[in-house]
């Protein structure tokens, strides 16, 4: 009798432990999915802001002077400063050093920015439709990051300060969303990697999520403020 009770007890204990692990995996799956959705929203926000910046810059180049309608926000650097204040972790902390860097204002770099923003938006639509967040997606977003930092954009953009400010805020949001997503992926992978979880194939029906690593700093890497490795 006693061995039977012990066996039953053991089976019940193991079963409830496995159920608990499965619940945790489900929860983490939901967290990864939500973080992924948030990341795509943030990336789309950045692509949209970059597109509007390109439009404003084109208008500015055509008008050959300060952009009408941006005057009211000309002093909005203070606002951007609040977001990444005190050089904390805001990727826009380095923006002050951007404007005034050498190089001619160039329609060519604005065109590059526009096509990079368009490519990013197209990539995001594919991801929404089910394409993976993979190396190809990272490449497209990196191209947009680089385009936003081109000297030609740097020179033209300060005249479109409202649009530039919007790009700064959107980029800061991308950095946050990416951190939330990568943290979720890290926790998920840690639990999936547990020996018991692998042995009973608790996570077998779930696709493995990959980290999403892009260069989302506003300043080139050698100018960027020191950041913690994430």
């Amino acid at each position: 009798m006693t061995p039977v009770v012990a066996v039953v007890l053991l089976v019940v204990l193991v079963a409830s432990y496995l159920t608990w692990l499965a619940t945790r995996l489900d929860r983490l799956g939901a967290r990864v999915a939500d973080a992924r959705a948030g990341l795509i929203i943030a990336l789309a926000g950045r692509a949209g802001a970059a597109m509007r910046l390109a439009d404003r810059c084109t208008a500015g180049l055509a008008g050959d002077g300060p952009l009408a309608g941006d005057g009211a926000l000309a002093g909005s650097g203070a606002l951007a400063g609040n977001e990444g204040r005190a050089g904390t972790d805001g990727p826009d902390a380095g923006r002050a050093g951007r404007s005034g860097r050498g190089g001619p204002a160039s329609p060519a770099s604005i065109a590059t920015l526009r096509s990079a923003a368009r490519a990013a938006a197209a990539g995001q639509s594919r991801i929404r439709a089910g394409a993976p967040l993979d190396a190809a997606a990272e490449d497209v977003e990196n191209t947009l990051s680089r385009a936003l930092r081109m000297p030609g954009v740097d020179v033209t953009a300060p005249a479109a300060s409202a649009a530039l400010h919007e790009v700064d805020l959107a980029s800061a949001r991308v950095a946050l969303a990416r951190q939330f997503y990568n943290d979720a992926v890290r926790d998920m992978r840690a639990l999936r990697g547990r020996r018991l979880v692998r042995a009973v194939r608790l996570a077998a029906h779930r696709p493995t999520s990959e980290y999403f690593e892009i260069d989302d700093a506003l300043t080139p890497p050698h100018h960027a403020p020191a950041r913690q490795p994430s």
Partner: protein, 379 residues
Amino acid sequence: MRIGLACPYTWDVPGGVQVHVADLAETLIALGHDVSVITPADDEDNLPPYAVHAGRAMPVPYNGSVARLLMGPVSASRVRRWLRDGDFDVLHAHEPTAPSVSLLACLLGDGPIVATFHTSNPRSKILTAAGGALRPALEKVRARIAVSEAARRTIVEHLGGDAVLIPNGVSVGTFAGAIPLPGHPAEGRTVGFLGRTDEPRKGLEVLLGALPALVGRVPDARLLVAGPGDAEEIREQVPPGLTDRVELLGRLSVADKPRFFRSCDIYCAPNTGQESFGIVLLEAMAAGTPVVASDIDAFRRVLDDGRSGRLFSVSDEQALADALAELLRAPAARAALAAAGRRTAAGYDWPTVARRVVGVYEMVAGDSRVSVAAADASS
């Protein structure tokens, strides 16, 4: 937004986390949000209208001092009821590694959870030992906030992953508008000190050591010392012949703290280490009092490498006396430093800080709400 804040430490016992949660809650309410706080308390009648009582906490030695913590079936059921009734858009747990209400809320809740980490402790034995046990609760946290670079490093080292750095806030208006204490500003030029006088790391000894050299160069210099500690003990430490230069205020009430800063010509923070942030410096700057502080990491960061306050090399009495004398004799330099300090403090004003916190809430909230975790819903 409907926001639930969980505070792990006893509300009516003074402490940095409690003050932070109260300030954040009140600022969020002023910004138009719907806020409820759950916290342990000794006396339920002391709780503000936005707070819910989680029970009485037990004193437990933790992290070098005595923390009062709370775990158990009664508090768990109160936390569960609070989560269910609150129907929050986001749950914000403060210091979720402490065995108390915040940890319970993380264990029992599900959905958009944000956590703020306050402690910095590079060699936390508790975190190292309990890291695995805390995992099921912490893996529900969708966004982590650290209040200082040191707190962030602690997270990275012990828990892996990263955290958003959003510093402590300061109620700038309260400090900027305070009137000096009765009898102040007094005759002569005053240097203020605030902190436990019997705790060596607060550095009162360094300041008293610098006093003879300071008085040698600024004959009417005086010290105003505020903070809990034995008055007799301090008098014994004062260099001979200078007792009339040191005024002891004892422990300050919350209302008197801003008035204290407004009573000083310079606020001095001679701390010798182990400060993770330096909120006191920001309070002094908000009051418009120029700051002279030791060049420890946290202070260097807050003072923007010496641009918003004067730094001196830590524990160096001569360097401290020089810095104080130089500034006390130069009203223009003091005014410039005060102006720089006010600008720095403005960036840490609570509404500014709270908006950044809300930015994080909005990013994790999405369409879902906080619910009671499925596995616990039945119990």
